[in-house]
């Protein structure tokens, strides 16, 4: 067991490059979905990972899970190096590390009843007999607040919020220590979202879980995360405690991202929001800092080298050369 407050998961310079191929399948470049990502997840915390679509959030989750083999770097989970191991190769290690899908409906086999889908992880990972497995499945189903009658339904017969609960139940049967939640609230209406979020927090207490919470919904992240990692085009640009990031963001990207949250009684978004244009093509990145093409603080220096993620303040790191400066007009 890892004592609380220590690193449960450590990523060291993790890279995931996808080849870009032309019509003749010749590689003409790399799409750097994750480039030199280093961070740690402490036991018992909820680490939020935020960023625009396509910034590598999901790739981060899937690479940690072993769904994508990493191009470089190391993944250390509970002190064991699990880099590049396929899920079935590192079965016992992976038991403690689980991933919930963005679309829980699609992650359930349409031909399998809910009960069978919930049973599968137990069949794979435990030597329990059928009766004991049924017991575990029933317990977990009630823990996520679903009636037992749902065991005999097919995935398409239940609602999106219920599918989400089933997806969570499916991985919780294994009693993991770390759960990667990929966009766990997307596609749910606000009232269901609140119930699901409360469920996450309840389950965290009940099962002593650590979450990596991947989301683009900043208000949700602010509500439930302890620390936040902000990603931009495959790199972590800012990392720190949630209050610090939301109250005093340092990286210009984070500042613009946060100004996009609508707030009652605050300035209208358009006045302080200077994040213009689309992010550059991830297959053809600008030199140096990736944000410089959209950055109001950018200077010639920014093109020279990739600014490292540095702890400018204790426990609050950012990857910007000029993060101490005020934003003009912002």
């Amino acid at each position: 067991m890892t004592p609380p407050g220590t690193d449960l998961l450590r990523l060291e310079g993790l890279q995931k490059y996808f080849p870009i191929r032309n019509v003749w399948k010749r590689r003409i470049g790399w799409l750097k979905a994750l480039d030199d990502v280093s961070l740690t997840v402490e036991k018992g915390e909820i680490l939020g990972v935020v960023g625009e679509s396509g910034c590598g959030k999901s790739t981060l989750g899937k690479t940690v899970m072993g769904i994508h083999p990493p191009t470089g770097g190391r993944i250390v989970f509970e002190g064991n190096d699990i880099t590049g191991l396929k899920p079935h190769q590192s079965r016992d290690l992976r038991r403690d590390l689980q991933y919930t899908y963005q679309d829980p409906g699609a992650s359930l086999d349409p031909r399998w009843k809910i009960g069978k889908s919930l049973d599968e992880p137990l069949v794979i990972h435990t030597g329990l007999d059928a009766a004991a497995r049924r017991e575990r499945v029933r317990d977990i189903l009630s823990a996520v607040g679903l009636p037992e009658s749902h065991l005999d339904l097919y995935p398409h017969e239940i609602s999106g919020g219920q599918q989400r609960r089933v997806g969570l139940a499916r991985i919780l049967t294994l009693q993991p220590t770390l759960v990667v939640l990929d966009e766990p609230t997307s596609g749910l209406d606000v009232s269901v979202q609140a119930t699901v979020l409360n469920l996450f927090l309840d389950l965290q207490k009940q099962f002593d879980l650590t979450y990596v919470f991947i989301s683009h919904d900043l208000s949700v992240v602010r509500m439930i995360c302890d620390r936040v990692a902000v990603m931009y085009l495959g790199k972590v640009v800012e990392l720190g405690a949630t209050e610090r990031i939301f109250d005093a963001p340092r990286h210009p990207y984070t500042r613009s991202l946060l100004s996009a949250i609508p707030q009652i009684g605050k300035q209208r978004i358009t006045e302080s929001f200077w994040l213009e244009g689309e992010p550059p093509d991830p297959g053809n990145l600008p030199s140096g800092c990736r944000f410089r093409t959209r950055c109001p603080l950018a200077e010639a220096q920014c093109a020279a080298g990739i600014p490292p993620l540095v702890e400018h303040l204790p426990g609050h790191a950012d990857a910007c050369l000029f993060s101490d400066r005020a934003v003009p007009g912002g």
Partner: protein, 286 residues
């Protein structure tokens, strides 16, 4: 299981052409099993009656008599047994070879899976019937060799089909989710991929039965099927040629039998395609 069977029956009842196809298939099976009971002259399969040759249809001989004076009707009924035997075994063997090959080649992405698919491509490059004729010709005319020729030339079709279906199933999130959960390759192939491609397999098997019966009849027609005096349908048509158009019943009866059976499998296969979609299951029968 019972639930599924009842569901299929109800769906079939609603789809008339599929029901007709099912009826024709059922008829073929009943005829094949009960041939000795249903036939009027069961001994005619092996015995000849030259004085009574080439008689037109009558109350005594429903489809007339052939060049040996045997009852065509009775011989058609016994021919159904040969047809079913050839089609079922040939399809069974080619599915048993082709499906595992397709699954493994589709699941793994390495030189071995490429090699398997290139081998099946070699077979698919030549039309099935040509290859089957060549094999049957080399081995000599018999039921066993027809089955062998058909199986040897039909499995690549299944390998190719299952390969493509497996590749697309692997892109499904639920397959990825099982892999992430730690499911072994065998488990993923057998319990996730195979069940999810089974409906298209069942549909293709049904339609493939029709095609195989037609190919088997072609081999019989060319004299590569079971030798005389076998009542095989293709052979019967070949024998009847020199007596056309006077003895029209002689060629019409086996021709009609082949036509109805092949149509039966095709109609049933088309109907199954519509029925076997899990997403339309309960929502539509409420």
């Amino acid at each position: 299981m019972m639930e599924t069977a009842r569901f299929l029956l109800r769906k079939l009842a609603a789809d008339r052409t599929a029901a007709l196809g099912a009826l024709l298939i059922l008829l073929l099976i009943v005829v094949a099993i009960a041939a000795p009971v249903l036939s009027t002259h069961p001994q005619d399969v092996a015995e000849f009656n030259p004085p009574g040759r080439l008689q037109p249809p009558s109350a005594e001989h429903y489809f007339g008599t052939d060049r040996m004076g045997s009852d065509v009707y009775s011989r058609i009924l016994f021919g159904a047994r040969i047809t079913i035997t050839i089609a079922v075994i040939a399809i069974g063997v080619s599915v048993l070879i082709g499906v595992p090959v397709g699954l493994v080649a589709g699941y793994y992405r390495n030189w071995a899976s490429d090699a398997l698919m290139r081998i099946s491509d070699i077979f698919l490059a030549v039309p099935q019937i040509v290859l089957a004729i060549a094999i049957a010709q080399t081995l000599g005319p018999s039921i066993e060799n027809v089955i062998l020729a058909l199986s040897a030339t039909y499995w690549p079709f299944w390998a190719r089909l299952v390969y493509a279906e497996t590749r697309s199933a692997l892109n499904e999130t639920y397959v990825e989710a099982s892999i992430a959960l730690g499911a072994s390759p065998g488990r993923v192939m057998l319990f996730h991929v195979l069940p999810n491609i089974s409906s298209s397999l069942i549909v293709r098997t049904t339609i493939g039965m029709g095609g195989t019966i037609l190919t088997a009849a072609t081999l019989g027609f060319l004299g590569l099927g079971p030798p005389a005096p076998s009542p095989e349908w293709g052979r019967t048509i070949a024998e009847s040629r020199e007596f056309l158009p006077e003895a029209w019943w002689y060629a019409t009866a086996p021709g009609l039998a082949i036509f109805l059976v092949v149509m039966g499998f095709n109609l049933f296969g088309d109907g199954l395609r519509d029925i076997l979609d899990p997403r339309t299951r309960r929502s539509s029968d409420g």
